[in-house]
Structures are given as C-alpha cells and as structure tokens.
C-alpha cells in the first residue's frame, strides 16, 4: 500500500503525460480496491476526464469511465465529467456503462432513449467500440430499447456494406460478421 501511494504521488503534476495519467488511474483504482477509500481515487479520475481531448486522450477518458463504473455509486461526483463522453462514438459505451453503474435509477439524468440512440450510432460507426456498444445496449435492457433503436439495429444487422472497415487486416471480415451476430443475439433477447 505505501508503494502504491508513493507511485500515485510520483506521477502527479502539471507536466504529467498521458501514460502518467493512465498509470494514475490504475494506481488509484488499486488503492480503492484494497482500502475501499474513494477519497484518493475520485480526484484522479476527475483529472483524467477533464483532460479529455478526443483524439489524444480518448482512451484515457475511457479508462477513467471504466474505473468510475467499477467504483459505482460513490463516483457520483464524476457524472458531469462523464456526460460529454456520450457525444463521442468511441467513448459512448464506456460512459453509458459508467452512468448505469453509478446511477442505475436515472443514468445521470439522461433519458434511456437518448442513451440507446447514442449507442446505436456507435454500433454503426467504425470506431473500435462497436462490440462494447452492443454489450452496453444489452446492459441497458433489450426489452427497454425504443422502437427506433430496434429498427436501426435490425438495419445494421442486415446491411450488405460492412460496418467494420479497420483493425487487423486478417480480422476485419470476421469481426464484422461477429458484430452482426452480436446484434442479432441482442435483438433476439427482446422477447
């Protein structure tokens, strides 16, 4: 524990790089997991989310949202910093999952239909987060999906043009097929 605390402080500061911030997220989360104290972890996650500049720190913000999801309700102060992540297709699934875990009753004040709409947009965007978006839609509750979202998902599952165009060259086609399967399985759970 002292080593974790020392390392956490050593990576702080204005000149902290993105890898430093990534490390701080993991260090703070480890401290929380072992000590259960949210005091050191919330400011670290808030700092990571405040530095969110899409292109450069997109994944750092996703890691912070994932950590917030793991912490759950005590991460409520982070909700205002998590909400802007909904606008970025790559970050949206992590944000939705965090909102559902932190505030299961009202998802940070965001309507379920809005969350579903954003997630379906992610599913149709080649951003590396499509599978997470389908998983988040499952967490949202297949039976609760608005008809408009279901219609868009059906269209995505069946469209001839591939949804996934990037990634490891050998895996693009298979990943696209897996995504269609995942969407169909989600829709099958609607009942």
């Amino acid at each position: 524990m002292p080593a974790l605390t020392t390392a956490l402080h050593a990576t702080a500061g204005q000149d902290a790089t993105t890898p430093d911030i990534d490390a701080r997220i993991q260090l703070a989360l480890a401290l929380w997991q072992h000590a259960g104290d949210t005091a050191p972890v919330i400011p670290v996650l808030a700092e990571a989310l405040s530095r969110n500049q899409r292109r450069l720190t997109r994944w750092t913000a996703i890691h912070a949202a994932d950590a917030a999801a793991e912490i759950g309700a005590p991460a409520k102060p982070l909700i205002p910093a998590i909400l802007p992540l909904l606008d970025d297709p790559a970050q949206c699934p992590a944000a939705v999952r965090a909102l559902l875990r932190i505030d299961p009753g009202s998802q940070g004040g965001t309507d379920l239909a809005v969350l579903a709409d954003r997630l379906v947009t992610t599913v149709g965007t080649d951003c590396g987060a499509q599978h997470r978006a389908v998983a988040a839609l499952g967490e949202l509750g297949p039976a609760r999906l608005p008809p408009a979202a279901v219609t868009r998902l059906r269209r995505l599952a069946e469209q001839d043009q591939r949804i996934i165009h990037s990634g490891l060259l050998t895996d693009i086609i298979r990943n696209d097929e897996k995504l269609r399967t995942a969407i169909r399985q989600l829709l099958d759970q609607q009942g």
Binding site: A3, D160, I172, R174
Partner: protein, 527 residues
Amino acid sequence: MPELSLLDGVDDIRWLELRHAYGGAGDVPALLRALAFEPGGAGEAFDTLCSSICHQGSVYSATPYVVPFLARIAAAGIRTVMVLGLLGWIADSDDARGLEVPGAARAAVAGQIGVLAPLLADPDAEVRATAVWALTQCQAADRLVPLLRERWDAETRPTVQATVLKALSVLDPGGAAGIAEGVLDGSADSGLRLMACAACVAAGMDWTGRLHEGATAWMADGDLLPGFFWGDRDPFSDLVIALAAHGHPGAVLRLVVTGLTGPVAGGVRKKAAWAAGELAEGYRSPAAGLVAPLAAVAGDDDAGPAAISLLRKLAGVPATVRAFAAVAGQLAAVAGLRGPGRRADQALAWLIELGDPRAAGLLARDLRHRPFALDAATSAARGRPGPPLPFDPVLLAAVRARLRADDMDHNSQVFLLTLLPAWGPAAAPAIPEVLAMVRRNPLGAGGALASIGGPIPAATEALSRAAATGTVARRLHAATTLRSLTGDDEPLLATVEHGLRQRAMSCGPPPRPRRHSAARPGAWCPP
C-alpha cells in the same frame, strides 16, 4: 523564372507563428528556397516539406501559406509532377489540424487553379495527368469542368484521357456519362473503355451486358492503363467497389469471377484477386460466391498468394461454410506442395484455422518453411481466434528437431515455445529441448516447462530468474505464472513493488495466465 517572382512574398509571412507536423514552421522558407533554386538539395527539401505540411494526409496552419509558392514552382517546371502530387494530397486532405478556417488548405489549392491550369496542356503526358488528378481534388466543379472538357477534346493519350474521364465523372457525373457512351460506341483503348463503364456506374446507369463487355475487354491483353494514377486507387478495383456501392451484387461478382477464372492474360488474375479482397472487405453478399473461384486459382503462381490470403480472411464466415467444404481438397493439395513457398504456407495456415485433420502432418513435414502456418497453429494459445492444433506425435518430433536446430530465428522460437504448452503433459518428451532454451529465454521456456511439467524445479527456477530480470512487464508475466504454479505470493509482490518504484511505469496490467487460475494459486491444471 527569377527568384523574386517564384518566392516573392515568402519573407512577408510570419512563419514562426505557424505550425506544421514537427512544430513551428520557421524552416519553411529555407526549404522552399532549396526546392526552387538548389538542384542538389531539392529532393531532400521536397521530402521534408511533404512530411511537414502534409503529414500522412494531415494538413496544418502553415499548409495554406505554402500552397501559392508550390503552385508557382510546379508551373515553372521544377519537379512538376512531384509538386503537383503534393498539391493534390493537400487538397484531398480531410484531416485539418490547427487551421484557422476549415477547408482553408483545399481552398488555397483551388485559389491556384489559374496558375496550374496551363499544366493541363503540358507536353509531358505525366504532367497533364497529374495536373488533372491534383486539380480535381479541389472539388471546384464550376471552374474545372470547362477546363477538363477542353482537355478531353484535345487529348490523344489513353491514360490521360482515362484520367480526364475519371475527373469528369467525379465533378460532373451526368456529363461524363455522355462522353462515356461515345467511348463505348467506338473502338477506344480497352482501359479507357473500362473507365467509361465506371463513369456510367457513377452516373447511376443500369449495368448491362454491354458494360460488362466494356469492363472486361482489357483482360485479354492485361494492359490496363499503364501509368494511370488516381491517388492510391486501381481502376479495376475502383469499378468493382463502385458497382457494389450502386447495388449491383450479381454484376460485381460476375465481373470479378471473370477476372479470376476467365481466359485472361498474365497478371489479370492477381489484379482480380486484389479486387475480390476489396469487395469482400467492403460488402458481405459476395463472400460465398468468391470461395470457389478463389480456390480455383489458389495454385496459381501469380494470383495464388492473394487468393489464399483472402480465403483465410473468409474462413469462419457463416455464409461460406458450405462453399469451403466443397473446396477443402483443392486447398489441401496446395498446402501439400513441398519446400519453401508462400502459397503452400498460407494454404496450410488455412487448413489449421479450419481444424482440418491433415494439417498437423503437413506442418510436421515442412515446419521450417511454414511461418504463417506456425503462426496459425499458435493463435489460440495467444488468445487469438482459431482452434488449437491438437497433439500429434509426429509434429512433436518435428518441433523437437526444430528446437535443436542452429538456424532457428527468434519468432520461430517464440511460436514453438507457445505451441508446446498447449499440449500439456503430452509434450513432456520435449522437456530436454526446452531446458536447453532456459538460458536464452527464461520466461518463454519457463512458462512452457510449467505447462508441460507443472511445478518442476526447472520451471520454478527459470521463472524465478525471469521474475528478477528484464522489463517490468516481463517480470510481472513471469511472477504471475510462478504464483499460479506454486501459490507463492512473494515473487509477485516483490515484482509489483519493483514496478511501482519505477517512475515511468510503461507496463499495463499483467497478462492473464493462460492455463493456471490466478484465483486458485497453486492449482495446476493440465490442458
């Protein structure tokens, strides 16, 4: 052109306040001077300018300010083709970084149409074609279409004609279709006929037998518009993708299959296999229909590697299962070719990925020459998609012999040390060979020994050594495996403490042990 008119005004720009890919743009005037006036240093200056102001397709705040000087340099006949190419890429960029006005880089090139237009009539055909492509990227249809029509009327070289027709189909699809009809009615060059078919598709016309004939005429001699340049696009692949995008799945499949299996000239099948790859990566419906034609050319010297590479990508796609069952014998025959060869290697990798029982024997026979197949055989053990290669005593003997060989490269060593653990105790005869590798690769060999023999002293010693040396990530990997094997927390805690002491913690979370449950330390489970 004297220096003053070429670079007139270059010193009036506040370059220090502008930026490019490598920071401040203060070096731009010197680079422009070297490009324009120092023949000995112009090549290097051009390369540096390219990567600075249009870096991998991104443009920066300095880029629009450089454009007028580049246009003058190109118009003066200094490295014209290269500079026109750079201007085209700048206009084509959709990734602006730090530009004051969105679209300013493209607008800057469009602002030079008057300076660059004379190059459309340059005596050098390559200059004319490159000027057509570069100017088209400006998307200024109103100003460019009249210039391009004028060029069409005067042009006699098929490759430049095709470039002009392509440009017109981008900027004025309806007008280009009219020209294309005329091309198809006459006896034009076969490459130009293909471009005319593409123009018809771009204009939304129906695909007919006449167009299929026009689009395949080039296959008889295989000569498709030598020197044609349209960014990084191939005219045949372009047509294939355009047809698919316009909703002609049957026609596009027939076109590609004609190129793969029809009576065509050398080089055509390879081009068709590449187009098939683009098609399958862009659209789902052609997948099943491509399997048999690709398998038919899998043994082809020219198209074989591309065909098998695509077949591997299609393996596992539900719609292709039946088609693959029908061609397994054909591909096994290619995989059975002896000795070095990419075709046989890729075909064997495909057999492994499909779990074909012939695979292990074929891999054993030519292990040294089958890097792709070895990669496929270890995919599952490395957490990638694909079935594990079942234990085979003949293959084990081949692996042992390979581990003893002097000419083994690092990748092969890593793959073999990944393959053995998947077989667990059945791989025990290989323990002497693995022990001999502990000094060179304590982590890989130690992990393999642990999976094969459990917590034997040789494994724990090797892993203990690996946990105390090298990078934090490798130490963590070794210590985690050791903990799973022995239940001893101490080496892992010591490694974690060591890692935390490092100011620059470059490692991520430790890799999950593959065969040992971290939740149940000490519980060794044979595979």
